[in-house]
Each structure stands twice: as structure tokens, then as C-alpha cells.
């Protein structure tokens, strides 16, 4: 047992390599499990937050019955979905119908292999990381087409066709924006760029700025292109045509129910988290805390390392505040105690995060998650604000606006990046 603990501690001390890069199968498995569990919890939390935030935007309360402030609602929903009858329509192509949701979930989860939560907090660090992410995440379109086709029904078929066209066309603009970042990573002394997710973040630190501010406004434009394309890529409002409820009832998953449906749901939310992670890694400095170069030194490190604990204490304080505001009627006794208990758990987590060894290791994960969470809020905000695009307009935005913008951005980024070389060439020509 002691040897085991020693082993863990000795591993945690060497924190410059990812388990995959280290070739350490045991730790890679542990990380995979951690990411899987963390992601599932994030999806559950996201489900609750989306319903709550959207509800408050729409002058209503949202879930309030299951648990205090509906905190247990996602769990109740999950249980309901698991207990539902498993229906495969008699006319459906059973085998493909069965495989499709797994296909979607598989691609949505696999991309997290290369997501860097910290310099050593990734399952592995591939030298083609970003290509791997884009490639695997676009596999989900296959699952959606399979679902639409196998349902053998008109609405899912149209939904699947829309979805595939949409995802394929927005991938182009997305790719161009990504390439502009890869050009930026090569602007170092070696002149060598990288596709590795970890290297991209390290370059942002080395070059002293997040790539969103690089060559202002070029980095910003690339970020905006990606931010629009990623909403379309994940089929969320205002680009949620594949599942446009008012037109196609539920799009490609109309015929799905119960557990299979919940897999689509899980995949949609983890895909949202995945593309947000790409955006955070590429433009917003990944795991880097704000101003890592400007406000450096041990004092600032210490100050910023208090943030995770303070955040959890803040959430705990919200819980306690609402515990006090709970109705005093005996009927609400269990709910009040539940909310207080939830606050205590959050508070304990927060306090644990002030403990030295924990504090030093959660900083990366905290800043990464905070940035991703900001994107998640954006997704919810979009959904509360925008009407839905029509299919042809969606295509128009993708091909006629974002694609030319992406191309121009690519050329401009390359030109601005190589301006000294270009200038030297011009001078040479002038001399002749």
C-alpha cells in the first residue's frame, strides 16, 4: 500500500509529461476514467444550468421540484430515460439504428484524448492533436446520417441531410480559422509551428499573448469565425435546424427514445464542450491564467492559485444564502437540509483547494474549465436570444461569408507573419 502511495506521489511530482507521452498505460487509464467521469458530471451540470439560466432569462423558475432548486432534476431525468421502454420502430433498419447513437457518442468522447487541461493534464499529447480533434469530431456526422437513414421516416431523413450538409460546410471555415492559428504558432525563433494542442498553448505563453489578440484584429477575426462555425458544428441555436422542433419535430432523433435518445443528448453536450475546448486552447490561452507573463513571480502565482478555492466558496455561499431564503414550512425541511448539505460539500471542496499540493495542481484545470464554462454560457445565451436560421441562409453564411473571410484571414495572417521576409524580398527586387 505504501509503495502504491509512494508511486502516486512520485508520479505527481514529475508533472511535465502527459501519461500518453510518458507511455504510462496505468496513468493513461486513470486519466481516461477521470475525463469520462468529469465529462459526464459536466453534462449533467450543464443540463441543469441550461434549464435554470434559460428559465431565468425567460421570466420563469425552471426545475424547482426535484431536490432544492431542481438540483436533482438531471438525475431524475436520467433515471426516467434509462427505465423507458427500448423502442426500435418495426420499419427501421435495426442494426444501423442500434449503432448510430454509439457512433455519435464515440466521436464526441474520443476527442477528449488530446484536450489539454494543463501542461501535463491530458490523456496524451499527439503531434497532430488539433487535426485529430477536427477529424474525430467530424465522424459524428456519420452517426447522425446513419440515425436519420435507419429511422426510415421522412422527418429524421431531412434532419440528417440538413445536419450533414451543415456540419460538412462549416468544417471548411472552421479549418481555415484553425490553420491561421497554426501559422501563428510558427512565429518563434525556430520558425517551426505545431499541431500539438499543448504546444499551441505553450507558444501563446512564449509569444506573450493569447492568439485572440495576435495581429489585432486578425486573431479576433479568426476566433469569431471559429466561434460561429462551432455553434453550427454542434447543431445548437441559432443553427439548430437538424433538430428544429417546429419544423421537423425532433430532426434525426425523432424515432429515438429512452436510453438511445439520451446518448444523442450526451453526445451533443460533450461535443459542445469539445469544440469550446478547441476554441479555448487555440485562442484563449488554454490552461494559462490571466497575465502569466506580466503578473509573474511567486506572489502573483499565489494570488491566482486562490481563485479555484474562492470560486467554490462563492458557490457554497450562494447555497447558504438560498438555504436561509427557503420557505420555513416543514414541507421544505428535507429540501432545505439538502441545499445546506450541497453547500457544505462545495465549501469543503473549496477549502481543500487551499491546501498546498492541491492548490498547485488544480490551477490549470480551473482556468481551462472556467474559460470553457464561459462558452457554455454563450451557448445558452444564444439559445435564449436568437431565432433559427433557414437552411439556405445557413449555407449562405457558411459558404459566402465565413469561407471567404477565412481565406482572406489565412492570407493576411501569413503575410503579416512573414512581413520582414516579404519586405526583404521586395528590397532585393528593387535593388536589381
Amino acid at each position: 500500500m505504501h509503495e502504491f502511495i509512494d508511486y502516486i506521489q512520485s508520479y505527481l511530482k514529475t508533472k511535465d509529461l502527459t501519461p500518453g507521452g510518458d507511455g504510462n498505460i496505468f496513468w493513461a487509464t486513470v486519466y481516461i476514467l477521470l475525463v469520462f467521469v468529469g465529462l459526464s458530471v459536466a453534462v449533467i451540470a450543464m443540463n441543469w444550468l441550461e434549464r435554470k439560466i434559460l428559465a431565468h432569462m425567460q421570466v420563469r423558475l425552471g426545475p424547482m421540484r426535484v431536490g432544492p432548486h431542481g438540483l436533482l432534476q438531471p438525475i431524475a431525468d436520467a433515471i426516467k430515460l434509462l427505465l423507458k421502454e427500448d423502442i426500435i420502430p418495426s420499419e427501421a433498419d435495426a442494426a444501423i439504428f442500434w449503432v448510430a447513437p454509439f457512433m455519435v457518442v464515440l466521436s464526441a468522447f474520443t476527442v477528449f484524448v488530446v484536450v489539454p487541461f494543463g501542461p501535463a493534464h491530458a490523456i496524451t499529447d499527439m503531434n497532430i492533436g488539433i487535426l485529430f480533434m477536427l477529424g474525430v469530431s467530424s465522424l459524428s456526422v456519420l452517426g447522425i446520417v446513419m440515425a436519420g437513414w435507419a429511422s426510415n421516416s421522412h422527418y429524421p431523413l431531412i434532419g440528417a441531410l440538413r445536419s450533414s450538409a451543415q456540419m460538412v460546410s462549416y468544417e471548411v471555415a472552421m479549418g481555415l480559422a484553425v490553420v491561421s492559428v497554426i501559422i501563428m504558432t510558427s512565429l518563434n525563433l525556430d520558425g517551426v509551428g505545431s499541431l500539438s494542442m499543448i504546444e499551441i498553448v505553450k507558444q501563446q505563453q512564449a509569444q506573450g499573448m493569447w492568439f485572440i489578440f495576435k495581429f489585432f484584429p486578425l486573431g479576433l477575426v479568426g476566433f469569431v469565425i471559429f466561434a460561429i462555425a462551432m455553434v453550427a458544428e454542434t447543431n445548437r441555436a441559432p443553427f439548430d435546424l437538424p433538430e428544429a422542433e417546429s419544423e421537423l419535430t425532433a430532426g434525426f432523433h425523432t424515432e429515438y427514445s429512452g436510453f438511445r435518445w439520451s446518448l444523442f443528448f450526451l453526445a451533443e453536450y460533450s461535443a459542445m464542450i469539445a469544440v469550446s475546448s478547441i476554441a479555448v486552447t487555440l485562442w484563449l490561452g488554454g490552461w494559462l491564467r490571466p497575465f502569466p507573463n506580466w503578473l509573474n513571480g511567486t506572489t502573483w502565482d499565489l494570488v491566482f492559485s486562490f481563485f479555484p478555492g474562492l470560486t467554490f466558496l462563492f458557490f457554497a455561499a450562494i447555497c447558504f444564502f438560498n438555504t436561509v431564503r427557503m420557505p420555513k414550512h416543514p414541507l421544505f425541511k428535507i429540501q432545505t437540509m439538502g441545499l445546506a448539505g450541497f453547500g457544505v460539500v462545495l465549501g469543503l471542496i473549496g477549502l481543500a483547494m487551499f491546501y498546498g499540493p492541491v492548490r498547485e495542481r488544480v490551477g490549470d484545470i480551473y482556468w481551462f474549465s472556467a474559460k470553457v464554462a464561459a462558452f457554455m454560457y454563450l451557448y445558452i445565451w444564444y439559445r435564449g436570444t436568437f431565432p433559427r436560421y433557414r437552411f439556405d441562409q445557413l449555407m449562405k453564411v457558411g459558404w459566402k461569408v465565413l469561407l471567404p473571410m477565412g481565406l482572406a484571414l489565412l492570407i493576411l495572417t501569413a503575410g503579416v507573419g512573414m512581413r520582414t521576409e516579404l519586405w526583404a524580398q521586395v528590397q532585393e527586387v528593387l535593388h536589381k
Partner: protein
């Protein structure tokens, strides 16, 4: 523009002989569908996502209201009309009561007329709010629905305080009103007017200049003025096509000639214009309500109407401007206590036949937008 007379009905039995045959898809939308506003069934013939033609199948909510009328006395039939356009029940009641009053040759007293106008205009606002919420929801904007329902609630509260019912109000009686306005009625109405004015700005803020909203509604479901007239379309749909026809101005009834208000019209006859027309109409209704509540005269609320209503042999057609268009009642009396025949001209039913003209050549998503913009209530279409 397409001439409605040349439109061929959908022939669903014989296959199309064009080489595009393989791309054709016949889709059955409804009667259970989230965006057909009830139990409308639309059979769409699609080429990809493009609508080649469509056919409405109605009757899923048919309750035989017109036939029921033949077995009820004039007074007994009054609550039934509320069940046709159930989101604008007060207007239905006004149309029916005025039609029977015309048949009896009596006129409701001035005080009753004013209260009728206030309630009817409030109901117009409520109906438009419901339309706006559901229409925006169909186009994908979910938030306006909750805003409009929050504000519509205040109108329903006034109805509830006045007559005890919120939706199917049965607010008016033949010859005037049954209930005197309650204490604080004027204050409630004035408060509501002040409350809802900024709220309408709020709806407009969300939608009027929203790029996606503009793209989804401009040039969608266009119907020209002559086409609209030929199809018998009335109400905001007709006015958005540039035809200034509002029965409140054209054939004034119920004291409307005493009020100062404007009839908004559009030019292009597309979904966006219909949206703007209805938004202005809400504001104009508020203007009418404001004037009416200032000038409620004292006096009786019921005209001298016999206990047993037995109109002389004859027939009458009377129409009013309901929120959705011209709502007409054609009543034939055989001199007995029961009408010989009542025929209702519901605006939704007539407006619905423009759906095919407005949707041909557009995309599936536009069918939803057009159904929403026509503002149909299936209770009224099927009766």
C-alpha cells in the same frame, strides 16, 4: 404574381411525370405537429426542401357549432361562439351580439358600447400577443413567448375580474351587458395600458431589428394585394399587402367612429410586414382603450330587449374586425326562438386558403413561418 385561379390542386395519386420524379417527397405535417397551431394537417409535396405545393386537411376540431345553433335559442347560443376563436372570445361574442341586435333592430346603450370596445380591444392585444409568442417560437426564438404570456396574463386578470372567466368569457349579452363594470375597472385598464406600452417596446427590441428575424421573415410568404382580395383574405394579412381595409373604419360598428386611431398598412405583403402591422395594431388598440376608458358615459348597460328573443322573419349579415380579420355572422330567422341557420364567416378559415399561394416555391421552414403569420386558430377554422 401567381393567379390563384390557375393553381392546380395537388394530385397525390398519380405520380409526376417529370424527370425530377425521384426527388419528390410527400410529407404529412400534422395533425399532431408542434407548429401547426392545433390540429391542422398539411400535406407537403417537396423537392428536396422546396415546397412544390401543399394541401390543407381540416376538420380535426369540428364540433358543428353552426348546427348546434339551430337547436338553441339566440341567448343559449351566445356562449358557444366563444369556443370558436378561443383566444379572442370577446370579439366573437361582440360579433354575435351585434348581429342579433341588428336583427332585432335594437342598439346597445352608450355605456355598454364603451365597455364592449374596451374589452374587445384588450382582447385584440391578447390575441396578438399570443400570435407573436407562438410565431416567434415557430421561427426559433423561444424567449418572446414567455414575455408575451406574462403580459397577456394581465389582460386575462381584467377579464376574470369583470366576468369571472379568463378565456371563454361570454362577456356580452344580446342588447348590452349583463355585468356592470366592477369597482376600479377604469383604474385597472389604465394601469394595464401604462404597463404594457414598454413591454411592446421590449418585444420589438428582441425581434424588429434582429438580423436572423429579418432574414427569416423578409420576402417570405409574399401575397400581393389583388391576390389577397381574390382569396378573400382579411385582417392584418390583407393590410400588410397594402390594402387599407379595416371594418372598424370601413363599416363602423360599436361606436368605433368616435375613436381616433389609425390603420397600419404594409407594402410588400411579406411576413415581416405582417409582423410590423400587428405590432402597430397593438399600439393603436391601446390608443382606443385609452380614449374609451376616459369617455365611459353613465347610463344603463342593457337595452330594452324582450325576455324571449323572437326576431321577425328575415336574414342579416353583420361583420366585425376580429383580431384575425373579418368575422361575419349570417343569421336567418324563421320567426321562432331558434335561428333557422347561422353561418359564421371565420377569418382564420378564409385566410388559411392563402397558405398554398404563399408557400409555393419556398422552403419547408417557410411553411412554418407562414402558418404562424396567418395567425390561425383551428377552433375557428373547423368550428
Amino acid at each position: 404574381m401567381t393567379d390563384p385561379n390557375t393553381l392546380s390542386p395537388l394530385d397525390l395519386d398519380t405520380p409526376d411525370k417529370t424527370f425530377l420524379d425521384a426527388n419528390e417527397l410527400v410529407i404529412n405535417m400534422g395533425p399532431q405537429h408542434p407548429a401547426t397551431h392545433g390540429v391542422l394537417r398539411v400535406i407537403l409535396r417537396l423537392d428536396g426542401e422546396k415546397v412544390m405545393g401543399l394541401e390543407c386537411v381540416i376538420g380535426y376540431l369540428h364540433r358543428g357549432v353552426e348546427k348546434i345553433a339551430e337547436n338553441r335559442t339566440y341567448t343559449m347560443f351566445n356562449p358557444y361562439v366563444d369556443r370558436m376563436d378561443y383566444v379572442a372570445a370577446v370579439s366573437n361574442g361582440l360579433g354575435y351580439c351585434e348581429a342579433v341586435e341588428k336583427l332585432l333592430n335594437v342598439e346597445a346603450p352608450a355605456r355598454a358600447q364603451y365597455i364592449r370596445v374596451i374589452l374587445t380591444e384588450l382582447n385584440r392585444i391578447a390575441s396578438h400577443q399570443l400570435w407573436l409568442g407562438t410565431h416567434a417560437l415557430d421561427i426559433g426564438a423561444i424567449t418572446p413567448l414567455f414575455y408575451t404570456f406574462r403580459d397577456r396574463e394581465e389582460i386575462l386578470k381584467i377579464f376574470e375580474k369583470y366576468c369571472g372567466a379568463r378565456l371563454t368569457t361570454h362577456a356580452f349579452r344580446i342588447g348590452g351587458l349583463q355585468y356592470e363594470s366592477y369597482d376600479g375597472f377604469e383604474k385597472d385598464v389604465r394601469n394595464f395600458v401604462n404597463f404594457v406600452k414598454p413591454k411592446i417596446d421590449e418585444y420589438e427590441e428582441l425581434l424588429t431589428t434582429n438580423r436572423i428575424w429579418l432574414e427569416r421573415t423578409k420576402g417570405v410568404g409574399v401575397i400581393s394585394g389583388p391576390d389577397a382580395i381574390a382569396l378573400g383574405v382579411t385582417g392584418p394579412v390583407l393590410r400588410a399587402s397594402g390594402v387599407k381595409w379595416d371594418i372598424r373604419k370601413a363599416l363602423p360598428y360599436a361606436n368605433y367612429k368616435n375613436f381616433d386611431f389609425e390603420i397600419p398598412t404594409g407594402q410588400s405583403g411579406d411576413t415581416y410586414d405582417r409582423y410590423l402591422v400587428r405590432m402597430v395594431e397593438m399600439r393603436q388598440s391601446l390608443r382606443i382603450v385609452e380614449q374609451a376608458v376616459e369617455g365611459i358615459p353613465e347610463g344603463p348597460i342593457m337595452a330594452k330587449v324582450p325576455k324571449v328573443i323572437k326576431p321577425a322573419v328575415g336574414e342579416i349579415y353583420h361583420s366585425i374586425e376580429a383580431p384575425k380579420g373579418e368575422l361575419g355572422y349570417f343569421i336567418v330567422s324563421d320567426g321562432s326562438t331558434q335561428p333557422y341557420r347561422i353561418r359564421v364567416r371565420p377569418p382564420s378559415f378564409v385566410n388559411l386558403q392563402a397558405l398554398d399561394v404563399m408557400c409555393r416555391g419556398q422552403l419547408v421552414a417557410d411553411v412554418i413561418a407562414v402558418i404562424g403569420t396567418l395567425d390561425i386558430v383551428l377552433g375557428e377554422v373547423d368550428r
